[in-house]
């Protein structure tokens, strides 16, 4: 009798893990650990990227304060995720289409959404979602995973039109459990569509830790089943994030199909400012450990060593950001209140009877 073949399941599992190392260019102190991942960015571009990251940190701090004063509405903190958000976005073109999640407002603003509109979105005002034709983006998505399947569609559309552009989209570690996540990367893979799909793995989906989402060792490896490349990158390292993103964009834009990127990062703040208390699920030790990996410190050290960044420069960026925010809030304050009659007019291009009746009713009510 032939010997039965035994299969070592544990070995199968272990084998997958070796395929997904964490790409890193800079160590915690800003020293280069992998020269091959340092991008060919000019000095001006490096400074611009740092400025954007500092701007984003200021926006986070000011938004938190404005929320507490009741001058903003919904806010999902972003501090800690600057490299993951701004360095990835830096790799894309204005004509690439951004499909953001609710935490991806900094990228949206850098993609062209006026800041005062981002504030209006936060306040729950429709003007915040009135996007100019040349803004290649959708408003932040609240339904987790919904932007992913849509990104697959945009990515296919771009490919069919023969454009060398891509759709790029973000979700969280939690979002990577959603059915839409799998459907999206599978569709995009099947059509070899021009998509770049990010998972910003910040360790928690509200309170649920990453290891409760899946038994997979990395989230990047979810790409395997879709037949597309998956990469895990140190999401606190702006240079590695940029390089990986740029390469993924080129790959997708040139018709090779989509890429899945997992950026390993951290959010210092609460999940959102709507009543979440991170001390219920996160320890101070964990916070401290991640603060040491801060993308701003890391990039600042790197740039200072190259003689490209000074304290004064950073202060200037911060002052400018604060002024910009102040002006944007003032502009948002000037926008007139919303009317239910206008909402009714927005429902259809041609108004059916029921809507016409209701427009009259609310116009009368609003004129009282």
């Amino acid at each position: 009798m032939a010997k039965k073949k035994t299969i070592d399941f544990q070995a199968l599992l272990n084998e997958v893990d070796t395929l997904f190392p964490t790409y890193q260019a800079l160590d915690q102190d800003g020293n280069v650990v992998d020269e091959s991942l340092v991008p060919d960015l000019s000095d001006e571009q490096l400074v611009e990227l740092m400025s954007r990251m500092v701007w984003s940190r200021v926006l986070d701090q000011r938004s938190t304060a404005l929320n507490r004063q009741g001058r903003l509405g919904f806010f999902a903190p972003t501090a800690g995720q600057e490299a993951s958000q701004l360095a990835s976005h830096f790799a894309f073109e204005k004509e690439d289409v951004l499909l953001p999640g609710y935490r991806d407002v900094p990228q949206l603003i850098k993609h062209g959404l006026p800041l005062y509109q981002a504030f209006l979105w936060s306040r729950g005002h429709v003007v915040g979602n009135e996007y100019k034709d040349d803004l290649q983006a959708l408003p932040p998505q609240i339904i987790i995973g919904a932007q992913y399947v849509q990104a697959a569609g945009v990515a296919l559309g771009l490919k069919k039109r023969g454009k060398k552009n891509v759709a790029f989209t973000y979700t969280g570690d939690g979002g990577s459990s959603q059915g839409d996540f799998y459907e999206a990367i599978n569709f995009a893979g099947a059509y070899k569509a021009n998509g770049v799909f990010y998972i910003q793995n910040n360790g928690f989906a509200i309170s649920t830790p990453r290891d409760q989402q899946t038994a997979a060792t990395t989230l990047a490896q979810k790409a395997v089943a879709a037949g597309i490349p998956g990469i895990q990158v140190d999401g606190m390292d702006p240079l590695a994030v940029y390089t990986v993103s740029k390469l993924a964009r080129e790959w997708a834009a040139n018709g090779n199909g989509p890429v899945l990127i997992e950026a390993v990062t951290y959010r210092y703040g609460a999940h959102t400012l709507s009543g979440d208390d991170p001390t219920r699920y996160r320890s101070k030790e964990l916070d401290d450990e991640w603060q040491k990996k801060d993308p701003l410190i890391r990039f600042r050290n790197y740039l200072q060593n190259k003689g490209l960044w000074t304290k004064e420069q950073e202060e200037e960026v911060m002052e400018n950001a604060k002024q910009e925010i102040k002006d944007a809030i003032a502009e948002a304050d000037k926008v007139p209140k919303q009317k239910v009659s206008d909402f009714l007019k927005n429902m259809f291009e041609e108004q059916p009877q029921n809507i016409q009746e209701q427009i009259k009713f609310y116009e009368a009510k609003e004129s009282k």
């Binding site: 005002h125 459990s177 959603q178 989906a205 509200i206 309170s207 989402q213």
Partner: protein
């Protein structure tokens, strides 16, 4: 007895059933350590352990499919959908699968599942958190939709739902969670499913409503009493299927009726009630059936909720119109 908010009453009901029946399982996104985003499941994991109270990965279709499977294995599943607007992700499981299984298998299987979820306007949530989607589920036979309007009912109805062998969608209006307290008995008691309650008796006109609109209607009734209009307020409690007997008896007494819902006007629960009244009691009516609802737009941007949501003043106006017809 103690004075409790609606959310405390809900936590209480869950604790009672987790204690009484070890096959009761409470699960969903963030329900464990965090105790849910509204703390409805606060401390339950500490008390009952991770086998009975646990976090799930972030996937609503998965949560409801899990509920289906656990119920088939004899557990009483009490899943939480974090906000009811996220139910679309799980519509197939709820309406396409869970609601039909007993029928489909010739009543040889039951699915004792109680889906809990917050919903309802007036608290300025982002998109799709507040939407009043009860009408969508009410469209499907085979599944109950329960909406309490106060702490006492919330506890009794939730216990009845969990003990029921049929699937229930149990919806918790966010604005009611902490807005007032009421005496809530300790331990187990039930408020029957499928039975409306009379929130206030009256003779001149009937208001039929549910959820947060019960309180708005009671406010309106109080003001209308000053103008000598005596209003009877019916709190549906179960919005699908609807207790038409109680409604018809009241309409036959008052001869006038206004149906109030927070949801948009088109289709939905109020439309069903109005048509049933027309069908069963048209000759008792001395005026058209009045309806108060939100307009037919998407649930509005946060800043405009105040105008969009129906309130006591809108109800008063409509009641006067129908009373003076």
């Amino acid at each position: 007895m103690a004075q409790k908010t609606m959310i405390q009453a809900i936590t209480d009901a869950l604790a009672v059933e987790l204690e009484n029946d070890k096959d009761v399982l409470v699960f969903g996104e963030d329900v464990g350590k965090n105790g849910g985003v509204f703390r409805a499941t606060a401390d339950l994991q500490d008390k009952f352990g991770e086998e009975q109270v646990f976090d799930t990965p972030l996937a609503e279709s998965g949560i409801m499919g899990l509920s289906f499977g656990l119920a088939l294995e004899g557990y009483r599943a009490v899943p939480e959908i974090q906000f009811f607007g996220f139910v679309f992700e799980a519509m197939d499981e709820i309406v396409g699968q869970i609601a039909r299984t007993r029928y489909r298998m010739g009543s040889t299987r039951n699915l004792p599942i109680t889906l809990r979820a917050p919903f309802g306007g007036g608290v300025h949530t982002p998109e799709l958190h507040s939407d009043n989607l009860e009408g969508l589920i009410a469209q499907a036979p085979g599944i109950r939709v329960v909406i309490p309007s106060n702490p006492y009912d919330a506890k009794g109805l939730l216990i009845s739902s969990i003990k029921s062998n049929d699937p229930v969608v149990y919806l918790e209006h966010m604005k009611l969670y902490r807005s007032f307290r009421e005496e809530v008995p300790d331990g187990e008691y039930e408020v029957p499913l499928d039975k409306a309650g009379i929130a206030k008796e009256g003779n001149d006109i009937t208001i039929v409503t549910y959820g947060a609109m019960v309180r708005e209607s009671l406010k309106a009734a109080e003001n209308l009493a000053k103008e000598n209009i005596s209003v009877e307020v019916i709190d549906l409690r179960t919005v699908s299927p609807i207790d038409m007997e109680t409604i018809i008896a009241s309409v036959e007494k008052t001869n006038r009726v206004v149906v109030v819902q927070e949801a948009q006007k088109q289709a939905g629960v109020a439309a069903k009630i109005s048509s049933d009244i027309a069908e069963k009691a048209i000759l008792s009516l001395e005026a058209p059936i009045g309806r108060v609802s939100a307009p037919d737009t998407v649930f509005p941007f946060g800043q405009a909720e105040g105008i969009w949501l129906p309130n006591a003043a809108d109800i008063e106006e409509k009641v006067k119109e129908i009373a003076n017809f």
